[in-house]
Point group: C2
Chain length 245, copies 2
Amino acid sequence: MRLKATISYDGTQFSGYQVQPGERTVQLELEKVLMKMHKGERVHVTASGRTDARVHASGQVIHFDTSLVIPTDSYQKALNVQLPSDIRVLSVEQVTDDFHARYSVAGKRYRYIWDCSKIQSPFRRFYTVETRGIRPNVEAMREAAQLIIGTHDFTCFCAANTSVVDKVRTVHSLNLEWIGDELHMTIAGNGFLYNMVRIIAGTLWEVGVARREVQTVAEAIEAQDRSKAGKTAPAHGLYLEEVFY
Amino acid sequence: MRLKATISYDGTQFSGYQVQPGERTVQLELEKVLMKMHKGERVHVTASGRTDARVHASGQVIHFDTSLVIPTDSYQKALNVQLPSDIRVLSVEQVTDDFHARYSVAGKRYRYIWDCSKIQSPFRRFYTVETRGIRPNVEAMREAAQLIIGTHDFTCFCAANTSVVDKVRTVHSLNLEWIGDELHMTIAGNGFLYNMVRIIAGTLWEVGVARREVQTVAEAIEAQDRSKAGKTAPAHGLYLEEVFY
């Protein structure tokens, strides 16, 4: 029986999602608990995609195959009882065997949060990127965002060390809104290249603080050149919020 | 010159406020930075009172004497640059030499937060106490709160291992309100005994989940008997929010 689960995790104390020898990762913690539930049998967990160290998820999706016949509600509770409290299983549902957490993805939505208050609340230090009171020009950032929305070759927003060949993706929406002193960027699209959201966040930030002109964003996309885009924004401001199937 | 500073800290990674040999405490971190600023000279920091391990502060007040002549704004910035990010200095002001962070206190306000959502967000695990979806009867808790407001001998709400003799205090206000799925208790008074807020929170919780009758709260106060009150609620739900002078 194949199960699909939606999970949330605080990325602060993880070396990312994927298993790496000697590191604490989300996948490792999930598989440890499932192995216990399956009396020592290894259960492989597949996620919609990896997240890096310190990146958070409020709606990551995973799938795995299980031999246990337990109602999905009880399955969810059993997982939450045994998992560390920085991973929570929000829902579990049975899916057909052709569902695949990664290959079936139709799109994703991410959130990026800057804390623009003068003094960052210590309670938000792992969950937002502090700007030491700098408040960017959001109108300029929105103008630049309009240049990113649509179907483009996004080579300029992709970390150089990647093996993906086809870098054409579609960004469906890219919004910026203030929530109190926090600036939230939300971006949805059919797929994202490695570090793409963080490089877009870093580039829009540079536009917002007048370190680059709006038009340079169109030029960077056109040039398909990573060096023409902005810096990669820090990991701990990023949340994988929803995966669409 | 005497300075008064309002500070905020995330109590998660501290063994409380007060210096203890071999432990990471808020006072130690403050005094380490001040010692550096004073070229090796020890500067003693006095707080409005101690907070326990994992207890947070959004408005703790401290004072210290300094020989440095720096504008208070720059003093605040210098402290924040050198302090770890789980302590932030919100403001610094010069006060007269007769101001004393502890002895001059006229009152304090604390906040206690329960997260009553079915699944606690991993991002809130250090900052709220999870109830696994249990939602208490807040009307009953408010009735019990009315019995606590006023001037009483609060021996029943004081940890047994205390050396304080006079246990008469005045609680000015004690409110309960929902903020989303979180239940927030705020309590203000002229002074609080050791563990008093956490024992009140624990006792009101027991009323809310029908583990005790409202009237038992009056009886516990009357009896001046710690064993007649409820359990001490966990530390990480508690915030020192404001100190009045």
